[in-house]
Structure formats: C-alpha cells, structure tokens
C-alpha cells in the first residue's frame, strides 16, 4: 500500500546539509495499523510528509499503491493526496470555519456540490459522535473534540490511508484512549490503512499491528507489537518499552481483536478500577438487581503500578437497551473508567 525504498532526505541548514532521514525502507500493508515510534527529532514527521508528497525525498523512492510519487508535480499529486487523509498533533482546524465547514473543506476543494458535502459531513459527525456540535467553532471545543473533527475531515474524501502524526500527543490519557479506540474502529469498519506516528509506546501498543522504531533518521527496528515488546533488540527500543510499562496497562489491539472473535455477541465493556474499588462486589450486585441481564467476565488482570494496584476487566453484557444503559451508568459510578469496546 505504502512503500519507502532506501529513502534519504537531507535539509540544508545554515549552509550545512543535515540528514533527517537515511536509508529508510519500509512496506505498509493494506488494512493494517502501522506504528512509527521514536524520540523527538528522529525524523518521524519528515517520513510522514514523504508519504503524501508534502516533502520530496532526496534519494530513494516513495510508492503509493505501487505508483511512484517522487517525480509527480504538485498538480499531479493533488488527486493522490485526496486519497490520503492526515491528522496532526495540533489538529490544524480552521478557526474561521464551523465544525461542519471544517469537515466539508476537503470536498469543497474537490468541487463536490454543497448538498452532497453536507450530507457526507453529517454522516461523519455521527461516526465521531459530535452531531450536536456541527455549528460550533473550533475554539469552543475540547482537544479531544477537535481531534474528532479533524478525523472526520480526514475521512470525508473516502481515503484509503490515514496518516496520524502525533495525533494523541496533545491529549490527556483518557481522551487519548477514546481517540485510539476511534482509530481502531475506523480501521476495522472502514478498512482504512492507518499509519500512526508517535513517541508514546502506549499508543502503538494499544492499536498497532506492526511497529517501526526510528532513531536519528534511521529505521533501527521493525516488527510486530509482540516482537518489539517482548524482545526489544536495540537500546532505544528497550528504553521506549520500559517507559511505557510505567504507564497504566491496557490491552493491545491484537488481544482485543482475539477477544472480539472469541465472544461474537453481546456488548463488550472494558472496566478499569483501582485497589479500593476492586474489593467491591459490583458485578454480583448488578446481576441480582437486573435479573434479565447476563454479565460474564471474559478476561481481566490486576497490576502493580507506582500509584498502587490498577485492574482492568473485560465483561460481556447481554441486555435490552434500557437495562444496558442503566448497567453502564452503575458501572461508571463504581469504577474509574468504562469503555464500550463493542456495542452488542
């Protein structure tokens, strides 16, 4: 889907050449979520900008769906860029346009008639759960809401690829989680290939299938999430992995997907709780209170962190909509966080 072949990129800074990327090759498959991780200045954003031709490589080749984009003019790049959505750390919304107008912008640029643009934008507002905010201006939104608008904007031209450059780096952990969940959902339901650039190992761990690690403009390690986490080869990767283990644990995309396959029906919910909450018999009480509701525990664990024990639990709920709502509300009161992984 996306290929880099021995790509090098040099910038001229103060009359000296500076190699931002050296001999980078990688191959991103259609339909996967591919993570690119590295510390600041590693060259991640530069690499990302090569993928949609915002920057041209000094050496090597960049292929999008098998077609080399290196020799293309700005003009010829335009239709290709429309098939590659991009989101950013600082959201990059136009403050002068409303949420709806921001989302419609790519289609406006492509000359799609207004009625069609609006219908499409409203559809996407539903996907990112912001229907009530269509007339708001970006300055009235929270960071997480802004990123949702940016995601809707990136999706409106039906891209096959979504590039995310530090898309969660400006957000708090909870919002980060909800954005990552949304990205995983987009990947699963729309079949969009996602490239996720970040310096947070936790983010790639949660939703990526494969990871590339970058340092000083070189790609120093590549592998599946399991390979990288279990046997990090280089020192830089080990440091990144160690850092991420300090963060509260949650499931990787791979194991969530396994779980979803194993339990095909019902609503699946991830609960997070702390030491005190874990000793309360919440689930048992709920089952007595709502006799028609079926709750089963699928998996869970309790882990020691610097802030004391933190646990998470995946449960499956089978209930009618009104009971489900009540149960979820109860759970939300009794735990730190309730995240619906899949609606039943």
């Amino acid at each position: 889907m996306l290929q880099l072949k021995q790509v090098g990129k040099t910038f001229i800074r103060e009359q000296k050449t500076f190699a931002a990327l050296t001999d980078v090759s990688l191959n991103i498959e259609a339909g996967e979520i591919y993570g690119i991780i590295g510390y600041s200045g590693a060259g991640k954003s530069t690499l990302m900008r090569l993928l949609n031709g915002l920057e041209k490589p000094t050496t090597g080749d960049v292929l999008v769906e098998g077609q080399s984009i290196v020799g293309l003019s700005e003009q010829a790049m335009r239709p290709i860029r429309q098939k590659i959505g991009m989101i950013f750390q600082h959201f990059n919304l136009l403050w002068s346009k409303t949420v709806l107008e921001n989302i419609m912008l790519p289609l406006k640029l492509a000359g799609v008639p207004k009625a069609q643009r609006q219908a499409k934008a409203r559809e996407l507002l539903k996907v990112v759960e912001l229907t009530h905010l269509e007339a708001a201006y970006p300055s009235e939104l929270s960071g997480g809401q802004k990123q949702r608008v940016a995601i809707a904007r990136a999706l409106i031209s039906d891209p096959k690829i979504l590039l995310c450059d530090e898309a969660t780096s400006a957000l708090d952990p909870k919002t980060t989680n909800s954005i990552l969940t949304l990205l995983a959902q987009i990947n699963r339901e729309m079949g969009i290939t996602i490239v996720l650039v970040t310096h947070e190992m936790e983010a790639v761990r949660r939703i990526c299938q494969r990871i590339a690690v970058m340092e000083n403009g070189r790609l120093i390690e590549e592998g599946t999430v399991h390979e990288i986490f279990e046997k990090p080869k280089t020192e830089a990767t080990q440091a990144l992995v160690a850092e991420s283990l300090m963060v509260t644990p949650s499931e990787t995309a791979a194991s969530i997907n396994q779980l979803l396959e194993r339990v095909p029906n019902g609503t699946i919910v991830q609960l997070r709780f702390n030491e005190a909450q874990s000793s309360q018999p919440v689930i048992g009480r709920l089952m007595r209170q709502y006799p028609t509701v079926e709750i089963s525990v699928i998996s869970g664990s309790l882990q020691q962190t610097i802030n004391g024990a933190l646990g998470y639990l995946y449960i499956q709920i089978q209930a009618n909509p009104s009971d489900l709502k009540a149960v979820l509300a109860e759970l939300a009161q009794q735990t730190i966080e309730v995240e619906v992984v899949r609606h039943g």
Partner: protein, 229 residues
Amino acid sequence: MDKLNGFQSYFQFKQVNWPSMWQATFETVWLTIVSVLLVAILGLALGLILYQTNASSGRVSRILNGIVALFVNIFRSIPFIILIVLLIPLTKGLMGTMIGPKAAIPALIMSAAPFYARLVESAFREVDDGVLEATRSMGASKAQIVWQVLLPESMPALVSGLTVTAISLVGYTAMAGVIGAGGLGNLAYQDGFQANQNAITLVATVIILIIVFVCQKIGDLVVQHIDHR
C-alpha cells in the same frame, strides 16, 4: 467680517456656512471611502505578492519580491504632503485635473496602499503553518489555499489593518484638501485659517474626529463579529 481673536473666536458659530460644511463633509467621506476601497484592493494584491514571493526560492519570485518590496518601502517612506506635490504631473495626466477631490486619489493610494500591503503581508504570515500544511495535504491548489484558508484565517487582522489605514487616510484627505482637493481640510484651511474664522476650523475638526471614531467603531465591530478564535 470682523476679526475676532482669542479663545472666544472658536465659538462664533454664525460664521459657519452649514451647507458648505456639509458639502465638505460629504467630499471627505466620499474621498475616504473611495480611497479605502482602492487601497484595500491594491494593498491586498501587493501584500499577497510579498507573502507568496518571500518564502519561495525561485529566481522569478526573488526578483518580483525585490521590486515590490522596493516600491512599497519607497512610497511608504515619502511624507504624504511631499508625495502629493511630487505626483502633480502624474495626477494631471491620470485625472485630467489638479483640483477637486478626484485629484487627491492617486497620491492617497500611492501612499496608503504600500502601508496596507505590509500589514496584509504580516497578517498572512500569522496564519498557522499547520493549517496551511493540512490544507495542502487535502490536495488544495495554490489559489484555493489563498481563497479558502489565507484570506478567511487572516480576516480579523486584515480588517483591523484596514481600519488603521482608513483612519490615516482621513488624515491624508485633510492634508490633500489644503492643496485644493476639497473636503473638510480645504474648508478648514481656506475659510477657517486664511479668513481667520476659527469656528469653522473647530467644527471641521469635530466632524473629522467623528469620522475617525466611526471608522474605528465599524472596524472594531466587524472584527468582533468575524473573530471566532
């Protein structure tokens, strides 16, 4: 007309010929509006050229940038009263006359448009690079970026810059009046100063102040209305 001196002379309002005062007010307002419009158009064009050619490393854009920058810097630096004299031959050729409000227009534009062009350039530069990059990543053309991003995103700065420009244009029109371009400046100079009727000068001053305040108020209101940052 008896010659009055001292502070009292300001308040001899019967000296004021109101029809000619309103005529002069009308001329000043007309001249200001016409020149603001022309300055806005020319200033935007020059400012856009400065902005677009500044970042680019191409040979043509560097030369174009040099020429426009030189033009802008020169005309911005010439004092208005000298510029108007300097441009007399050009004005005669262009407007066919040296008297009346029309005659002031070339000098007004030549001096205010470069000033506004610099404000436009810096307003464009204030536009968030990330937003420009995002638009580029959507496949926008250069012209689309100007119309869909650059102009709307810099609109408050463009409007407040135009307000400042409009206010100095009111001042310039008064100066132009002294050398025969009509309006309140002309009236204050000829009927007020030369005929020593201070009340006329005072009334003309108050009207000019009102015009300036109205300009400022309109500008502020528009900015308030369009700024959603």
